[in-house]
């Protein structure tokens, strides 16, 4: 079965390739962490000691292997600049990013698919034109610009929602929602715009097909036509695009978190770059890659639900 092979062979392979490439790239980076960590007045013996503590004196492949075997159990090593295990750092910042991403995906799907179908059903109408304009604009503007615009309207003018910060959901649904809505919306608009466009073109293409006319000639009502005939035929390209956009969305969290002052994985990444904290960056990259690979897998699996032919 194709998916099984993908799970067992391809996905781990890709993960190893990515993580090794990034690992090697970081090992090749200029500068010696041992020197930085040992401090200004360190003597050569101290530097050498720090180096062997960090394992930096070993060959690249060994170092990578050590990292990898740790990574699969959740141990990503220790941060250079923060003296904390990377996994702890990531763990503390996971929830805000997760909330943000999930809500954004939710918005993207609702807005993208919703407007896409509305535009199809009322072709040539106001909604249709609105959708083509928005979908073009949505991919031409930086997400943080859209975020700033939202803040300007909702926070500054209407004073309806806070402009920064994040509140844990355990501290109350309403404050959490108030803090998450604007960033999630800003994050979702670009994928929503792309999705709108794809949904509209896929669905209208399917609706023009002969077998849909046959369905109508059989007396089928609009809703069953959409569910049984349209979804199965238009679904696969749409889900594929969705998968790609979600992967992109994960990258977008970096910018949106910075804009809204949310202490999530995105801001962790940016801080780590400025502090040249390689283990943390590597940890975040590994996590992000794992997410994308899982998403690809889920997309593959969904194919067989959408179009039964793929299961054969």
């Amino acid at each position: 079965m194709k998916t099984l092979r993908r799970v067992v062979i391809t996905t781990p392979l890709l993960f190893v390739l990515v993580s090794f490439s990034v690992f090697a790239m970081m090992a090749a980076a200029p500068g010696d962490p041992a020197v930085d960590l040992a401090g200004q007045n360190a003597k050569p013996e101290d530097i050498a000691r720090v180096r062997s503590e960090l394992g930096l004196d070993q060959p690249l492949l060994v170092r990578y292997w050590n990292w990898l075997s740790g990574a699969v159990t959740g141990d990503f090593g220790t941060s250079y600049s923060r003296r904390q295990p990377v996994s702890e750092l990531i763990g503390a910042r996971l929830e805000p990013t997760l909330s943000l991403a999930l809500v954004a995906i939710f918005f993207a799907v609702i807005i993208g698919v919703g407007f896409g179908i509305l535009a199809t059903v009322r072709q040539g109408g106001m909604v249709d034109r609105f959708v083509s304009v928005i979908s073009s604009i949505g991919i031409a503007l930086p997400q943080f610009w859209v975020g700033m615009l939202l803040v300007m309207v909702f926070s500054l003018q209407l004073k309806a929602m806070p402009a920064t910060g994040y509140v844990d959901i355990s501290d109350g649904f309403a404050p959490w929602a108030a803090h998450v809505i604007l960033p999630a919306l800003a994050l979702s608009l670009m994928p929503a715009a792309e999705l709108m466009r794809h949904v509209r073109s896929s669905v209208s293409e399917v609706l023009d097909k002969d077998f849909v006319l046959t369905a109508r000639a059989k007396g089928m009502l609009t809703r069953p036509i959409y569910f049984k005939h349209v979804v199965r035929n238009a679904g696969i390209p749409i889900v594929t695009v969705l998968g790609i956009r979600i992967a992109q969305l994960l990258g977008g969290t970096v910018v949106i978190e910075t804009l809204f002052g949310i202490q999530g994985l995105g801001t962790l990444t940016v801080d780590s770059v400025l502090g040249r904290d390689m283990p943390t960056i590597l940890g975040v990259v590994a996590l992000a890659t794992a997410c994308v690979l899982v998403i690809n897998l889920l997309v593959d699996l969904s194919y067989r639900f959408i179009d039964p032919r793929t299961a054969q």
Partner: protein
């Protein structure tokens, strides 16, 4: 296998007496939207090249007394927190932004084009390995990968656009590989029928000539995306270093002074948005002109 929107295109055969360029141009002219986009893009490029000269105000001139001034007859687009004239800053930033985008696209071509050619042309094991590497690269969210590269090469405009170029190279690789494979099967047929073996080098040149159109379209699209990427990185503080300005870094300044002067976000934001739209419309239009049918939007 799913249809890719960037499907392979074979270049229109040259008609005797009519160059490819003039044919493309006349096709483009007939599509109003694409023509407008073309004009806009040309205007932007002209501003990038000649812009700073006619503008009298120095973009880096500090006018602290007039800091955060609203648009007026003296300062057409207002001033930022250091009193710098936004209008002249916008003009001079055009060159920086465009060059930055060009750099990113150039890097992606340098990496992706030869590798894509090799993978598509030779196939087999080489292709497998390269494609796997390519898939791996595509498994990391773009911005995160870019940031990781910046961590290695250091912040700054040149280095961060290099990082963007690296991140873009898989899409060039894929496109070039696909186009090459399609063209190669064509030319093999030709070669079999034609006068014996043609040297691989001639074939390479032939392949390049034929994959040029879709690559050109992709370049146009990527320039737009690169501008947004530059904006993102500058916003994060990893891109342009002051006092130099790009449209992205102007947005960063606007963010820093957001509560005091929210109007500062509009000029650079609209500049980016319109230019990206123009480039992507141009790309669509070129694609339409080259395949002989209307753009897919």
């Amino acid at each position: 296998m799913l249809q890719r929107k960037d499907a392979v295109v074979s270049a229109p055969r040259k008609v005797r007496g009519e160059s490819l360029a003039s044919k493309m141009f006349s096709d483009l002219r007939s599509d109003t939207l694409s023509f407008v986009a073309f004009v806009f893009v040309s205007a932007v490029i002209l501003i990038a090249v000649f812009g700073p000269l006619p503008v009298s105000t120095d973009p880096n001139q500090l006018n602290l007394r007039h800091a955060l001034a609203r648009p007026s007859s003296e300062f057409w687009l207002g001033t930022d927190d250091l009193g710098r004239d936004q209008f002249s800053r916008l003009i001079s930033a055009t060159r920086v932004t465009l060059l930055a985008a060009a750099e990113a696209v150039a890097v992606s071509l340098v990496i992706g084009l030869p590798l894509g050619l090799v993978a598509g042309y030779f196939g087999g094991k080489i292709d497998s390995v390269l494609s796997r590497l390519n898939d791996a690269l595509m498994s990391v969210p773009a911005l995160i990968l870019a940031i990781a590269v910046v961590a290695v090469v250091g912040p700054g405009l040149t280095t961060s656009m290099f990082a963007i170029g690296v991140v873009f190279s898989p899409s060039i690789f894929r496109l070039v590989r696909g186009s090459t494979m399609a063209v190669r099967s064509e030319t093999y047929v030709e070669a079999a029928v034609a006068i014996g073996a043609r040297s691989p080098r001639i074939m390479f040149v032939h392949v390049l000539r034929n994959i040029f159109p879709p690559v050109l379209v992709q370049i146009s699209l990527l320039i737009g995306i690169a501008m947004i990427a530059e904006a993102n990185l500058s916003f994060l503080g990893l891109g342009v270093v002051p006092p130099e300005a790009s449209w992205g870094s102007m947005l960063r300044t606007a963010f820093d002074t957001f509560y005091a002067a929210p109007f500062l976000m509009f000029a650079p934001g609209l500049a980016i948005g319109l230019t990206v739209l123009a480039f992507s419309q141009l790309g669509d239009g070129l694609g339409g002109a080259l395949t002989g049918k209307k753009a897919s939007r």
